[in-house]
């Protein structure tokens, strides 16, 4: 019925890392692209745009979700947390420090997503078993580390807490 719609922009309001941001977006712009390009939050990475690799994971209302499988317009009204939002003003969080201590990152591309997923896991389940950690992280692909050090980092952070 309608003719092809081109670049119609809408003004939306996104609550990111506790801050309200209002900006014009096209409906088809993914949340990942808007976070990265419009808000300069490039810690969220794009790896596949089909919801498989998990590199784009952000927290939406506290739970890990794929920002490549959300249009920014859908995120209006949600609390969004990116890696920038779980990093303290100075230094690293306890979980981030555990990652470094255990060498749980190499190239770093999957890392922000791993940290956010682990943050959400520990909030829900402060003392997960190794199997629970692996299951929770199974939607985040890492091609460098073989996962062992990541699992150890999360377990170690859980123990310290």
């Amino acid at each position: 019925m309608s003719t092809t719609t081109t670049s119609q922009t809408m003004s939306i309001s996104l609550r990111v890392n506790g801050e309200e941001r209002t900006l014009p977006v096209e409906p088809r712009w993914s949340l990942a692209d808007v976070l990265r390009r419009e808000l300069g939050l490039t810690g969220t990475h794009i790896g596949c745009e089909q919801g498989v690799c998990g590199a784009c994971t952000v927290l939406v209302d506290g739970t890990p979700q794929r920002s490549c499988l959300m249009f920014a317009v859908q995120a209006q009204g949600c609390e969004l947390t990116t890696i920038e939002g779980v990093t303290p003003e100075r230094g690293l969080s306890a979980l981030q420090q555990a990652f470094s201590k255990e060498h749980a990152l190499q190239c770093g591309f999957c890392t922000p997503a791993m940290v956010l997923t682990a943050t959400a896991l520990l909030a829900q389940n402060p003392h997960p078993s190794e199997a629970e950690v692996r299951e929770a992280l199974s939607g985040n692909i890492c091609r460098c580390t073989g996962y062992q050090s990541i699992v150890e980092a999360v377990m170690s952070a859980a123990k310290e807490a």
Binding site: S7, Q96, C107, R143, C144, T145, G146
Partner: protein
């Protein structure tokens, strides 16, 4: 100078990485994070035919779309990939003919990627399809249709035979044969490829950002193809999110991006999406090895015949024709850690209408090890021996070093025997057979698979290029902080930390006081990038050399200021002091201040400033690391699924700079090995369409697929400075064979011998369904 550091603080220590802080905060800047105001983005129109003449291209609708800045075809961007070594004949944008699905035809440059993709859809290409040549066995025949009309499908051919082979083969009492196949796979880094070119905002000089393993090799390739002047091009490699050899190749997209930036006078960026990654990143493996082995009754393998066909794909890659690499390294390393005296090798690398094959971690090593360990299993099976005993019978012993293999490699000392025995102990081999028998009685199938590997490292050439040395600069800043720079191209290996560890030990300072730069041709000295497991050895050697040169200058200056002999000066705790007398010392920071701003205090023979540049050429042309991997699996014969229960790796890479980083490399390579053995396959249909164009089809191992592993280290130093050996690829060389052999062992009662990977559920079900087991 002694090659062994006395009491190093950092070398050999599990130093946490300098890279981590920014990466954990999400502050690492990868290629797609580079955004410059007014930058344009490119989307490509890629061939949807595996083989076709291009009849016409209509870009008019694309050009007319609002937001589109330019649309380029071969007429607008007329460059050929080129090398002096062999003919490539690949137009950067296809002209007249396409030869694989995914080949570049048109470039759309627009305000953003969304619009560029809208416009790309509006381009129409008319093809006249040609029957696609998809089988390498067909391509070997001189009657097969030529992928390149003017030249035969055989890109490379060679034969190699040891003297006395025929007699040795014929006179051996036992023979066996098998065909080993590794299907097409690729590296799939989490960060896809990308490139952004622009006139530098300040100087106007051309700057090209690229996610790559060697900034200097990239620059050399770019100026070769485009006829640019080397000192007018700056290449900057930002944070790289994984590379694995895939990003060491030179790809046509980079030429198009650079040309568009020059023509438009603006910043232009292209980032690959995941479909493009699977279509057009270099592919790997895809070999057939037809093997005949001759052996004695007690398991000595006397002679091996290996007839190889390697699928090159549609074009030989510029600088590294991967099929030659895959077949070359596989056959060169065919005998692995075993004393096999005779080989007869014939290799054909042929063209096909698939994507070009290049380098992927291991480069032929994995396939070679699969063949080598498959032969061991074959021999063991035929003689009714435990394959461990076949290995013991054939392994090169310590007293045999230096050992010259049948293919002409000279192995420096390693720990082949010890690594096998240690790995067997670690996995609990002695009790395993009982455990296996008990499981079989319950209808469960457990298996153990072994791979002893030898990894050629730090060779004079690798997929990163042919630079037989590495470079390091060290500059002491006026405040005493150290800025170093190397020609390496890291993508997660932690060179900023490992190189700093070496320098810190030489100069007696903290790792945290050293910044190691890399990736920018304006600041990084001409070097060889990262690849071929060269960085620790050759890069480390360069860092040591530069550090010692700097140490000499500091000692010279300190000796002058302290009125002591230079030979009596040591660098400890951040100062230069008379050896053993800390009260007679000067802080390094003070030496630096003097060298730059208080120059009247300098000795007459010393000029102001503290900078050195050093290049290290290793004494050895190549050094061989080694190890043994053992995998323990459970095979579910009803579902065909394999679970990896346990995994051990004993690794000998000589002196370790940072054991934590070494272990990380091993874990990662083993995970890729699990992918290679059970999950990963690039599949084309008979028309040449790639069926696996997403990560739902090309499956990568996740945290629930990879078990916890145990790693142990042995140290047999190399003869190079520092005693290092490279080790980045050994784990991916050893893991697929260990895993394949584990399935062989688990299903031995069905007579299964795995010779083709990946092993898929349907294979396992086919091999076991309704079959009677033979209890051995």
């Amino acid at each position: 100078m002694s090659t062994v550091l006395s009491k190093p603080r950092f070398t050999g220590a599990r130093v946490t990485r300098m890279e981590d802080d920014r990466l954990l905060k999400g502050q690492g800047k990868y290629l797609d994070d580079i955004a410059v105001p007014g930058m344009f983005e490119i989307a490509f129109v890629r061939s949807t035919r595996a083989a076709a003449k291009i009849l016409s291209i209509d870009t008019s609708a694309a050009k007319a779309l609002p937001g589109v800045v330019a649309v380029m075809t071969a007429d607008d961007c007329d460059f050929l990939m080129k090398t002096d070594e062999y003919e490539i004949a690949q137009h950067v944008l296809a002209r007249d003919e396409v030869r694989f699905v995914g080949e570049l035809i048109v470039a759309v440059i627009a305000k953003d990627r969304y619009i560029a993709e809208d416009a790309a859809e509006l381009v129409s290409v008319a093809y006249a399809a040609i029957p696609a040549l998809m089988s390498m066995e067909v391509a070997v025949s001189p009657d097969s249709r030529r992928v390149h009309g003017h030249r035969a499908n055989a890109f490379a051919h060679w034969d190699k035979k040891t003297e006395g082979y025929d007699e040795a083969f014929a006179s051996a009492p036992h023979h066996a044969k098998a065909r080993f196949v590794t299907h097409r796979q690729t590296g799939v880094a989490m960060e896809t490829r990308g490139c952004a070119a622009m006139p530098d905002p300040a100087s106007g000089r051309l700057t090209v950002y690229v996610s790559h393993q060697s900034p200097h090799q990239f620059r050399t390739d770019l100026i070769t193809v485009m006829g640019l002047e080397e000192n007018q091009v700056r290449v900057v490699v930002p944070e790289v999110g994984g590379a694995f050899g895939i990003k060491a190749m030179f790809y046509p997209e980079y030429v198009v991006v650079t040309h568009a930036a020059r023509v438009l006078g603006r910043a232009v960026k292209w980032i690959s999406d995941r479909v493009e990654c699977l279509l057009s990143d270099c592919h790997a493996r895809d070999n057939i090895h037809d093997i005949k082995a001759a052996f004695t009754a007690d398991g000595h393998i006397i002679a091996v015949r290996d007839r190889v066909i390697g699928d090159t794909g549609a074009y030989p890659i510029m600088g590294f024709p991967g099929a030659v690499g895959e077949a070359g390294w596989a056959t060169n390393m065919l005998t692995g850690p075993y004393k096999i005296p005779h080989v007869s090798i014939t290799v054909d690398c042929v063209f096909s209408n698939k994507a070009p094959v290049g380098a992927y971690r291991g480069v032929g090593g994995p396939v070679g090890a699969q063949v080598q360990e498959g032969i061991v299993e074959l021999v063991a099976r035929q003689l009714g021996m435990d394959s461990v005993d076949v290995r013991r019978v054939n392994l090169i012993q310590n007293e045999d070093f230096p050992y010259t293999t049948a293919t002409g490699n000279v192995y420096d000392p390693g720990s082949y025997v010890q690594s096998l025995e240690d790995a067997l102990r670690l996995i609990g081999y002695e009790s395993f057979r009982k455990e296996q028998a008990a499981a079989r009685a319950r209808g469960e199938y457990l298996g153990i698979g072994i791979c002893g590997f030898v990894e050629p490292s730090a060779g004079v050439s690798s997929e990163a290029g042919s630079t037989p040395y590495e470079a390091a600069t060290i500059r002491l800043e006026p405040s005493g902080k150290v800025t170093a720079a190397v020609g390496l191209g890291p993508s997660g290996q932690g060179h900023e930390t490992t190189m700093a560890q070496l320098i810190a030990d030489e100069l007696g300072i903290e790792v945290a006081d050293i910044v190691v730069l890399h990736g920018d041709t304006d600041s990084a000295p001409f070097g060889g990038g990262t690849g071929g497991s060269r960085s620790a050895t050759i890069g480390g050697g360069a860092a040591l050399k530069a550090a010692r040169d700097m140490k000499g200058k500091l000692a010279h200056l300190a000796g002058h200021l302290l009125e002591a002999a230079q030979e009596d000066i040591e660098l400890v705790g951040g100062q230069a002091q008379v050896a053993g007398v800390p009260s007679r010392g000067i802080a390094i920071a003070e030496l630096a201040r003097i060298a730059y701003t208080d120059v009247s205090k300098l000795p007459d023979d010393m000029q102001p400033g503290l900078e050195v540049v050093a290049r290290y050429r290793p004494a050895q042309k190549v050094t061989y690391s080694n190890g043994t991997h053992i995998a323990k699996v459970a095979v579910d014969i009803e579902t065909g699924l394999v679970k990896v229960l346990d995994y051990v790796a004993v690794n000998d890479c000589g002196v370790l700079i940072n054991p934590m980083i070494v272990e990380g490399q091993i874990h990662g390579g083993v995970a890729q090995g699990i992918g290679s053995a059970f999950l990963e396959e690039l599949r084309y249909d008979e028309d040449g369409q790639l069926l696996t164009t997403s990560l739902s089809d090309y499956l990568l191992p996740t945290a629930t697929d990879v078990p916890p592993m145990r790693v142990e280290h042995i140290v047999t130093p190399s003869g190079n400075d520092g005693g290092f050996k490279g080790m980045g690829e050994g784990s991916l060389i050893a893991a697929p064979p260990a895993l394949a052999n584990a399935v062989t062992d688990a299903l031995s009662s069905f007579g299964v011998l795995v010779t083709e990977i990946p092993v898929l559920p349907q294979h396992i079900v086919q091999w076991t369904q309704g079959k009677e087991t033979v209890l051995s």
